[in-house]
Amino acid sequence: MNPLPDTFHNPYLWPLLLFALLPMLLYLVDRRRARRLDWPALRFFLTRQRARLRWIRLREALLILVRSLALFLVVYALLGPATRVERELSSSSSLNRGLVLVFDTSFSMSYRPAEEAGDLLKRAKTRARALLDELRPADSALVVSPPATDRTPGDDLFDLEKRRLELEELELGGGPFDLLHAIDDAIGKAALLSADIREIYIFTDHQAGSLPAKEERSLEFLASRLAALDPAPSITLVDCGTPETSNHRIVEFESDSLVTGTDSAIGFHVRVAPAPGAGGLHLRVTVDGEVIVSRPLEEEGPATRELSFSHRFSSAGTARVSAELVGEGAGDGLPGDDARHLVIEVLDRLEVPIIQGSPDKGRAGGGHWLDLALFPRYGEGQPPKVIFRPVILGSAESGILARSRVLVLSGIPSVEPRELELIENFVRRGGGLLVFADAATDRLFANDRLWQEGRGLLPAALLKRQKSETGEAYHPVAVNLEHPVLSIFKGVSEADLGRLAIRSYWTTGPVKEKAAILSRTSGGSPWIIEHSLSDGRVIFFATGADPADTDLPRTPLFVPLLHRLIRYLALGPSIAIGCNQGGTLEVALEADERAAEIRLTRPNGETEKITNSTGTGKRGVSWRKTTQTGFYSFDIGQGNSGKRTVTLAVNMDPAESNLERIDADSLELLERKLGIDRLRHSQDRPGLRRSVIVELEHWPYALLASLLLLFCELVLLRGFASSRSPVPAGGSS
């Protein structure tokens, strides 16, 4: 046994060891304060007692040493030192055990090793079953699969049969596995077990993502939690993974937008990680089952490859776009990450409401110019194939806004509070807003109702109208050509933009903190400003949309600029609809749909009627059973006997498909900090511990030694005196 302690329960008492120096310090201080005195009998005394004096000096040194040592031992005992000793448990031992079995049920455990019929979770269950079989009736156990809800164990801790059932019912879908949280949770569960021996077994595939970067503080916290329990549970990490995996996967599949029009193509980007040495693989992209792209993947190449392509959807509706790895060698142990899916909404018509005040007499308002630019339809020939359908309105109408994705304010008319509320709610729910501030803009109304001290629709307050008085017009400067909208002006058009004449504009106050100034006038004030309001976006022009303020409507720049603006605001990047495998699909229901019948079609084609008991909520549907990857369709019956279908995509979490294992250094850190045992070979079957780690406290021995030393001190103090017999005092003869 190592005589040195492995741990100290009260390390914060280390400074008390300085007290061990106290006897020495007192001795030195006392000695320094000695008085000098001439003494008549000193020589006489020294001559007679030289040997005794030497012994007395030695005794004094011994006393200081003994006292220091005794103090040191007392403080040492207070520090709570302990040594971990391993003791063998005999088969007839009467000690009872409490087991906490923790399972990684993340989707990486669905990996199927080539040599086995089941997946890694099945492998884990087999091993856990073997442990449960070794338990006796007096033993207790808990089955935990994080992130499990807190469960207060009841009397069924000793119901091992129930544990076996729970084990069999374990399913994938527990979400990403965090090893440290799992250990923390397991320690808490172990504390609830009143057993002589507590054991924690963690069954996981050792995925690197389950152990965050070296967090020593977290480990120290866990170590202190372990040490606080008596008996402290042992922790065994059961590796249910495989050292070598063959898994190719699609790491990422994205599009420029999840909403597009039939009038333009959108870009798709795929990132693939083929398994090393896997040949014959193809990347296949389908839209509603129809192959649009098929590219072979070379056997040799970088670990991660990126492919991009564009596609123009020809018909409106919901398009199911899937990227898959197919071909020879496509099958691997984890099929769920061999494909990723996107749901794209395709529009062949996009209404663009344009709200403007009344145009000036004799001059078309900005709305007219916007209308023409968005859907140029005058003149001979067929109207362009654009999906925009501008609708000029005098006021906001809830019906139109409900089916629109973008709204244009030409000028800032004074709208009714109800309309303003409609517009604001529209934007906050994800709608796009394009604002042109012209001469007719009511500054007071705009600042009071649309700026609202930074809480409203406008990105800045309007100050005054600035006109070029000398005849020299202003021009756009500092244009952000990296912006998705303004990037079209890179190259030749950039010069044209710089020559654009701005005759009058609104100066603004300081813009909102997170607003972006996309361009300024040469007068210094912002010209184009973008900002977000909840889920929606707003782009503001400090000039009107008609030629009164700028030449822009008359230039060839206007149409492409406007089209890009509208696409950006209406069809721009949006949050993917769907969830990761194991997550929850949410479908909002309209008021007249809440009592409607809802039928779900899963990726494997199975359908199921959703009743109130299976997921229908009051305002929407929440569906949690998303273990399959692919498309989930919710057919919602409507009140007028119509039907609405909502299609959502479920993909494997890319983190789960990364089967890279925890590195050796991290595992050794775990071992060192928490005393974790590791079963290194994945084929090992863990048995219950045959030995138990017992903490041997040092403090009783330290206190005993301290008492012995104090006894030695007494002996030293009295032994010298008691060796002399009492002598009468001197007197007359």
Binding site: D30, R33, A34, R35, D38, R43, I56, A729, G730, S732
Partner: protein
């Protein structure tokens, strides 16, 4: 006004300069105290009266008795033999120690002076020997006032210095004393007891009676300190020691007691009277004890 009893107090005595005065005051004070207490048997003035018979020396008529009784009585002195006594006074450096109002040497000198006075009053011859590392000075015993003055002067001039070697001093003295004489050694005896006893035995071998009066300061019998001390030997300043008085007090005291026991036993074995005196003790007590010893010797 200085009371008579003040001269019996060592503290007060120390204030007086002249030993002659001191000696007389002490002796007279002692005697008068004896009278008041009517303690007979220890007086050295006279032992008894006897009726006058024609032919007696009128010098010894007790006129006071005549005044009281109307009869003539002669004072009869105890001792009509001439004793030759030598006072040996230790004047080594250790005798300069004092923890109170009077040094050991001063105390010893006063005591010796008083004794000399009393001895001479009894018509004994008294002499002086000053002891240190060797016999510093020797005044042979004579029964004369001039000798007594010389003794006083020598004691007054004596300075405590040097080391103590009583063995050497006493052996030197032994060659000078007469058999049947009395040697009174007044010293702190802070020397090797064998050495001291060896010197005493030499005197005894010469036939001299010896009385040993050990004069000590109350403090030097112990280490009355509660802290670390750096002590330097008075006689040999090169000897210095840093010690914890609390740790060594017991040993020191026992050592002293051992030393005194050894001397006491040695004196007893050599038929030498021994007294241990404290410089805080009144002279009357000391003189009383001395005279008690004296009376036993007759």
């Amino acid at each position: 006004m200085t009371e008579l009893r003040d001269f019996l107090d060592p503290g007060s005595v120390a204030q007086l300069e002249r030993l002659q005065v001191v000696a007389r005051k002490i002796a007279e004070g002692f005697l008068r105290g004896l009278h008041r207490s009517s303690a007979r048997g220890s007086s050295i003035e006279y032992a008894e009266h006897r009726p006058y018979v024609p032919g007696d020396d009128l010098k010894h008529l007790d006129w006071r008795s005549y005044a009281r009784t109307d009869r003539f009585y002669l004072k009869q002195f105890e001792d009509e033999t001439n004793l030759r006594a030598t006072l040996v006074l230790d004047t080594s450096a250790s005798m300069s120690f004092s923890s109170g109002e009077i040094t050991k040497l001063r105390y010893a000198s006063c005591l010796a002076a008083a004794m000399a006075y009393l001895l001479l009053g009894q018509r004994d011859a008294v002499g002086l020997a000053l002891a240190g590392e060797s016999l510093k000075q020797h005044i042979p015993p004579r029964a004369s006032a001039e000798n007594l003055a010389g003794i006083y002067g020598a004691m007054e001039k004596a300075r405590p210095e040097g080391r103590t070697d009583l063995s050497k001093v006493l052996s030197q003295l032994a060659e000078r004393v007469d058999p049947g004489s009395l040697t009174i050694l007044i010293s702190d005896l802070l020397d090797d007891e064998q050495s001291v006893l060896s010197g005493i035995s030499q005197l005894r071998q010469r036939g001299s009676e010896v009385i040993v009066l050990q004069v000590l300061d109350p403090c030097e019998k112990e280490l009355p300190f509660n802290s670390w001390m750096v002590l330097r030997d008075i006689e040999d300043p090169s000897i210095e020691m840093r010690l914890d008085a609390r740790q060594l007090a017991e040993l020191y005291r026992e050592n002293f007691i051992e030393h005194q026991d050894a001397i006491r036993k040695g004196c007893s074995a050599a038929a030498v009277d021994y007294l241990c005196l404290d410089t805080s003790a009144p002279f009357a007590n000391t003189l009383g004890r001395f005279l008690h010893l004296r009376s036993r010797q007759r």
